[in-house]
């Protein structure tokens, strides 16, 4: 009577618990000597390091999935069974994703700069095709525009 309230944990020795957890720490890279004879708090840091590694691995797998998704999207036009003749796949990403904020900012700036250069080049090419008057003539024209009836009066 009342034995159901006895804590079975109190019957388990510390040694048993140590042996129970031992394989886990071996699996995450702790040596037997560190586990048994080293600083007992090391297990905390091994466990935290393991959590960080797991998180990193998860992010890597997610990133890999994202790249695969992008690759599939890029080739999807040619995967279509009834794709018109001559259909070409979209090009794959020209560079990897930016993983840090700074890198992303730099990449964004570089992209804007490249766009500006491209726009400038297009504008210059367009301007070169125009038959613009010379500077002097331009000035004369401007004067004429300002007071078209000056000579008449």
């Amino acid at each position: 009577m009342g034995s159901e309230f006895l804590n079975p944990a109190s019957q388990i020795s510390y040694t048993e618990i140590f042996y129970e957890h031992f394989p886990f720490y071996l699996a995450i890279g702790m040596t037997a000597d560190e586990y048994w004879n080293g600083d007992c708090t090391l297990t905390r840091y091994y466990k935290k390091a393991f959590e960080i590694k797991k998180e990193q691995k998860n992010e890597e797998l997610w990133l890999q999935g994202a790249y695969i998704y992008d690759a599939l999207c890029a080739v999807s036009p040619v995967l279509h069974a009834f794709a018109p003749r001559g259909t070409k796949p979209h090009p794959y990403l020209d560079k990897p994703y930016s993983l840090t904020k700074e890198k992303a900012r730099n990449d964004e700036e570089a992209k804007h700069k490249a766009n500006r250069q491209k726009a400038k080049a297009i504008f210059e090419a367009w301007a070169a095709t125009l038959d613009l008057p010379s500077k002097k003539g331009g000035k004369d024209n401007a004067d004429n525009r300002r007071s078209p009836n000056r000579n008449n009066s």
Partner: protein, 110 residues
């Protein structure tokens, strides 16, 4: 860094600490921390002696008992030893940092 007790006796520096191995050795020799309340007179010196295993394994029991008899403030010493003894287990049982999910929070009124 694990909890340690340091002192000097007879010109020699001693560092007391419990590792998992030293606790295993103590338990193999019949030590049971639950006896601390029932048999304090034998358990407490054994606990003190066990703290030598990690760094001073070959110090004779007579010397350990001699040191134990001369140590001051035993009440606090034994409290610290008990804390040190539990540390290798606590380091394994520690909860994860985040209390999200199924964790149950509790508080005591004392």
């Amino acid at each position: 860094m694990a909890k340690q007790i340091s002192f000097e006796y007879d010109g020699k520096q001693y560092t007391l600490e419990f590792t998992r191995k030293s606790i295993e050795i103590m338990e193999r020799q019949g030590f049971n921390i639950n006896d601390i309340t029932d048999k304090p007179m034998t358990t407490l010196p054994a606990l003190f002696a066990g703290a030598f295993i990690a760094h001073h394994r070959f110090v004779k029991r007579e010397i350990i008992d001699e040191i134990y008899s001369k140590l001051t403030n035993k009440q606090e010493l034994l409290q610290k030893l008990a804390e040190m003894y539990n540390e290798p287990l606590e380091a394994l049982m520690e909860d994860p940092d985040d209390n999200e999910g199924n964790a149950v929070n509790w508080e005591a009124s004392f």
